[in-house]
């Protein structure tokens, strides 16, 4: 009954552990964002081949403005998917949030901030309501939010009233999607972000060393940092050579970075993953599972309304069809294409950006080719099916590997 002999710590152990971890991740289906990035490269290559204007700075700038609303809605969807739930109401909340803002701003003459605030809080309230029904009465989330889809679309029609279309006049609201920052501002931001990322890596390595923990492979961290810095610098250079950095893109990135920090580095975020991975274990660990669920649905509603406001700002109007059509499906598709699992507990907020880029690129590229909606829907459907298949296959891999 004595303890086994302690293995002597070898120098090569660290390297072996690193390689072992990589092999385990791939064979067990933890593929992360690799498929979506490969997919994006492929899609861009095909469209560039078909139309040389696709990768022009002007079109890429347009693309970043076009994906802002879907990307923001998709951030909320990622959070809901991490719980292993779904929110089908985001399209209607997108429409209602923008309608509330438009009516208050244009018809009631409210100032900018209260009008936008009221639109956003409408989404928060609706999300909280869904979360309450889901947790209190244990109705499956897809049914609660399906009822929401119908109800809030009706509310949107009611709020818009007889006229049907409201043209936005408030300059601040229309600037949300229409404003561009000068290349100088863009470069300052880019350098600042790269510097913060670098400092973060150094601080974390030093903290691990101080705590006497084995260090993470330096090579991997440097490669990751260089790749991310190159993407940031490259994107800034492209945007700077056209009209500058779109405010819509900065708003989207701000939400993604903020929610990435919340999901990966705070207790709230950790608890979202815990509830999505094993709700019973989370409950036994003293986590208030229902509070987490209600908070996440509230955030999903909030992000949907913010996305609606961004969309309204881009189109300069709100009407009966705002938020209808493919908004809901594109937002869910973006999250899943980006690599967030439909089965809960696995994913990252960044999949909202990468997935929205894929969906946006398909829409944008096909529009450049003057393709009609028929092709667009079929291509998007095919890409979604491919993404979900990767998710499902990866899950089977995990189950095989995970005993």
């Amino acid at each position: 009954m004595s303890a086994g002999p302690a293995p002597a710590p070898a120098a090569g152990q660290e390297l072996r552990a690193g390689l072992d971890s990589l092999r385990r991740r791939v064979t067990s289906g933890d593929v992360g964002s690799l498929p979506v990035i490969l997919g994006l490269v492929l899609i861009w290559a095909v469209f560039q081949y078909l139309n040389p204007n696709f990768l022009s700075p002007r079109n890429l700038t347009n693309l970043t403005v076009q994906i802002a609303d879907i990307g923001i809605v998709s951030v909320g969807i990622v959070l809901v998917l991490l719980l292993g739930e779904i929110d089908l109401s985001v399209g209607s909340v997108y429409g209602l949030g923008s309608a509330v803002m438009a009516v208050l701003s244009v018809k009631q003459g409210w100032p900018t901030a209260p009008a936008i605030g009221a639109g956003i809080l409408t989404g928060t309230a609706i999300g909280t309501f869904h979360g309450f029904f889901f947790t209190r009465f244990r109705i499956p989330s897809f049914v609660v939010t399906l009822a929401g889809l119908l109800t809030w679309f009706g509310a949107q029609l009611h709020v818009l009233g007889e006229t049907g279309t409201i043209n936005l006049t408030d300059p601040t609201i229309t600037q949300l999607a229409g404003n561009f920052f000068s290349p100088t501002v863009g470069w300052i931001l880019a350098v600042a972000v790269v510097a913060v990322l670098g400092v973060d890596v150094i601080i974390r390595r030093r903290r691990r060393a101080n705590a006497g923990l084995p260090s993470i492979g330096l090579l991997g961290e440097v490669v990751k940092f260089v790749v991310i810095a190159a993407v940031i610098v490259g994107a800034t250079a492209i945007l700077a050579s056209d009209r500058g950095v779109p405010m819509a893109l900065l708003i989207l990135l701000g939400f993604i970075i903020g929610f990435d920090i919340i999901t990966t580095r705070t207790r709230f975020g950790r608890h979202i993953f815990a509830v999505g991975g094993n709700a019973e274990a989370a409950r036994r660990a003293g986590i208030s599972v229902n509070s987490i669920r209600i908070a996440v649905f509230a955030l999903s509603g909030t992000m949907a309304a913010i996305g609606g406001i961004m969309g309204a700002s881009r189109l300069l109007a709100v009407n009966y069809s705002s938020g209808t059509g493919d908004i809901l499906l594109n937002a869910i598709a973006a999250a899943v294409i980006g690599g967030t699992s439909l089965f809960g507990g696995r994913g990252t907020v960044w999949s909202a950006l990468t997935g929205a880029l894929v969906i946006g690129s398909i829409n944008n590229g096909l529009a450049l080719l003057s393709a009609a909606s028929d092709v667009k829907f079929m291509v998007t459907g095919g890409v979604l099916l491919a993404a979900v298949t990767i998710d499902a296959v990866a899950r089977q891999g995990r189950q095989r590997a995970g005993v």
Binding site: G4, A17, R265, F273, A282, A285, A401, G402
Partner: protein, 269 residues
């Protein structure tokens, strides 16, 4: 020290009777509708002791464990902890006393790594920004795993990648992490292979040597005889026998479990 229930005839009191029990249940009764799940049951576990709780299905083992864990509130009877009569009105009271339960289904989150699971619900955060202190948590997690001699290649790997024995060890380590004084293990070796069973049994003994009172429910008498200091037998909601491991045989325990005369039955797996 007072024993309200007394020992069944023919079984000696434990060698450690002079010491004060860590956790003691006195005259516990619990009824579910028409079923009397527990009737006037006494139970005690001492520091640095492994007690096995055995009995056939429906004997009341799980009900008794859940009473200790605060999940069931007994209809009558008292719970004493370290010599004091304590109120236990729910799982939180029980946890606050230092009673930790490791359930059969382990209650781990597969998608989170070992460190995150050990700290689940009690993550440490820094100030002023309330961000999780990963380094502090990982350091302590490695320490606890080492103190229990639990071998896990990298505590940053998700729990899904671990073997059954390693998962059981992580679940047990979580109780030690939070200074449990009494650890309840429900069928800790039920789903494990030979090698992993051995690991878990060694872990049980290491818990004991850290001064913890360990209560193990098991159907496997071979395992029970390997680790338990005392064996308490339940039948039909009553405590029907107490055996000191060193002075008893598996045949005698099986007899008490089935209610048959001692020695007539060979123990089964």
């Amino acid at each position: 020290m007072t024993e309200t229930g007394g020992w069944p005839e023919g079984h000696p009191p434990p060698a450690s009777e002079a010491r004060q029990p860590l956790l003691q249940l006195r005259g516990i009764s619990k009824r579910f509708g028409a079923v009397q799940a527990l009737s006037d049951v006494d139970f005690e576990v001492y520091p640095e002791e492994v007690v096995a709780l055995v009995g056939d299905n429906g004997a009341g083992k799980s009900t008794l464990i859940k009473t200790m864990a605060g999940i069931y509130i007994p209809d009558s009877g008292e719970i004493w902890f370290e010599g004091k009569h304590v109120p236990v009105h729910g799982p939180r009271d029980s946890a606050a006393l230092g009673i930790a339960t490791v359930y059969q289904d382990l209650a781990l989150s597969d998608n989170l790594d070992v460190v995150a699971n050990l700290y689940l619900g009690r993550e440490e955060v820094s100030s002023p920004l309330p961000l999780i202190s990963e380094e502090k948590m990982e350091f302590r997690a490695r320490e606890v795993l080492k103190s229990l001699d639990v071998k896990i290649p990298n505590p940053r790997n998700p729990v899904a990648a671990l073997s059954g024995g390693q998962r059981q060890s992580v679940a047990v380590a979580r109780s030690v992490m939070w200074k449990a004084k009494v650890v309840l293990l429900d069928e800790p070796t039920a789903a494990l292979g030979v090698q992993q069973t051995k690991q878990v049994l060694e872990l049980v003994l290491r818990l004991k040597h850290q001064g913890i009172g360990v209560i193990v429910i098991s159907h496997n008498l071979a395992n029970v005889f390997e680790v338990a200091d005392r064996i308490i037998v339940m039948r039909l909601g009553k405590r029907v026998g107490t055996f000191v491991r060193s002075e008893s045989s598996e045949e005698a325990v099986v007899g008490a479990i089935t209610g048959a005369e001692f020695g007539k039955f060979k123990p089964q797996e």
